[in-house]
Symmetry: C2
Subunit: 338 residues, 2 copies
């Protein structure tokens, strides 16, 4: 079975880890049931297409926050409390950069985490593609042994920028800042006028991305940010068409519960799009390819797109077990819609 997931950072990574947990648990049960039958159980392959719009070059190093969060979370190296970065990481390099007055200081990089960025930058400088670099990092974190393949949305650099009010205020001229500056430094508190994605016109889906969507048995959208995570992947030329054209059902999990994001700032991202802050509003962004939509029991109302099967259950991923339960439910919804 081929499962393809389009993912952002923390929420998507926790969802994918839950999915892998659920599949391993199922695989164990199937193996027990299969005793005495012939042939190995069908190996399930999970291909994760990670958002690269958050990527940023800092201190001359290429940083891919969502890919790294996926790697660290799936590989068992993530700082669990924080949801990103490495467990037990130090801050010596950043302390020295602060002593030297090197900017920016608002994006904290741990020492172990910097090892990833130094290696990635060196490999990119040697001519490897981001896909190839990501493959090397995935080996280091044991993703192949989990049956997981991690692909960047694109090998071409794309960067999400946020257009905000200029110094003169809401009626004056505007300015564009890097997504990370808006998200990390300003905590998405500067009202966004709109989002732009530098490099998107020249970007192509990374090798394997379109195939993973076309040849999937199920495509899943985790509760990632619909604008700056999944929305960026959808913007890579060809991805949306592949989702419209795939025979696989595309199912998703609402990132909003009761009209509010569980984590992050999806509300601040949806506002400039004029989209209703609701599970139904987000589903509307995917209306042209969505088959099934998992929403919380709190979300009884709303005008969901026609033709989308809506299911309700507790979708809050309180912990790793909870994430497995939500992922299992999304997968089952997809399998029923085949």
């Amino acid at each position: 079975m081929q499962i393809t997931v389009l993912s952002g950072g923390v929420g998507g990574a926790r969802f994918v880890r839950g999915l892998v947990d659920a599949l391993q648990h199922q695989g164990h049960e199937e193996t027990l049931q299969d005793q005495g039958r012939q042939g190995a159980p069908d190996p399930t392959r999970v291909t994760v297409i990670g958002n690269t719009g958050d990527d940023i070059t800092l201190f001359g190093l290429r940083v891919c926050p969502d890919l790294d969060t996926l790697l660290y979370t799936l590989g068992g190296g993530v700082d669990e409390a924080q949801g990103w970065g490495r467990a037990g990481d130090g801050r010596q390099v950043m302390e020295e950069l602060a002593a030297l007055g090197v900017q920016p200081q608002w994006f904290g990089l741990g020492d172990l985490d910097l090892g990833t960025h130094v290696a990635r930058s060196q490999w990119l400088g040697q001519g490897l593609s981001l896909s190839e670099v990501t493959g090397r990092l995935a080996e280091r974190w044991g993703l192949p042994a989990l049956g997981v393949q991690l692909l960047p949305a694109s090998d071409q650099p794309i960067e999400t920028h946020v257009v905000v009010d200029g110094p003169e205020g809401p009626d004056g001229p505007e300015r564009a800042i890097h997504f990370q500056e808006w998200w990390v430094r300003h905590r998405a508190a500067l009202p966004a006028r709109r989002f732009t994605v530098a490099g998107l016109g020249q970007a192509r889906p990374a090798p394997g991305v379109l195939e993973a969507i076309r040849e999937a048995d199920v495509v899943i959208l985790p509760p990632s940010n619909p604008v700056v995570s999944i929305g960026i992947i959808l913007g890579v030329p060809g991805v949306r068409d592949a989702l419209r054209g795939t025979r696989a059902p595309v199912v998703g999990v609402s990132p909003l519960i009761g009209g509010r994001p569980v984590r992050g700032h999806a509300d601040a991202c949806l506002a400039p799009l004029g989209v209703e802050l609701s599970a139904a509003g987000v589903a509307g962004l995917y209306a042209d390819f969505l088959s099934g939509w998992l929403v919380d029991e709190a979300d009884r109302d709303g005008s969901f797109p026609r033709g989308v099967t809506v299911e309700r259950q507790d979708i809050l991923m309180r912990d790793r077990v909870g994430a497995g339960r939500v992922a299992r439910a999304a997968l089952d919804l997809g399998l029923r819609l085949r």
Copy 2:
């Protein structure tokens, strides 16, 4: 008073720190003597011209070992036992690079130390010259307050390479490796056929280097390696001519005591030059501009160059106080030869 020093790494840095200590002690005494007189005592300025032939690009980061050793030693941040690197430094980034299989692993960089290299690389990438970058780092380490100016020998990248036997052995073809690979990885145990310096033809002395030699009251060569440290600085076009032409006496401290280097591998560097392993042999390398030469009491014999005043005393820098004593003796020798 203007004192100009041509320096390599550990030995040179300890010597310069001793010189600064000696000058501050003297300055204190002079200030006491000057009470009641008019005018401030003549401020003494020490300009250090640091070897850049050891520089290397590792993991995409520009590393300048000798300049950094000078900065850390003078600024109070050096690992005293080791003589280079930062006190109390961690190894998290290198551990992660090792986990990722990134080469080379033979050049260890501490986390705090990496902060220097990340900052330097970022600034160089922004178009600053190595002189300007070094000036910023010198500010961070408080060198101006010590009356010390640190200049790289050249703003153009130069790299010392070591030509060694090829895989077929001493009679087969040769190969060139970076100085650091020879020095750090092979501990100078591979016999050197000769040294070459990539980029030397295009290199120019950094701003202020020739002036610091021409306008000095005394020029001092600390007991740095005569081939791969001071020898590289002398090879930058114009430097040797400036030393020949300056009105200041040029005095030096022998890096060999009893025919053996006190630290490092000066013997392995002198061998391919066919130079006698002695204080007199090293003085011969400087014969065209040397005025005074401080050697150890152990070195009574030897054919010193004509016209060079040779002084004997205990020149082993056992500790910081000992380095101050040796530096003071070298300075006094220079002042007497004016």
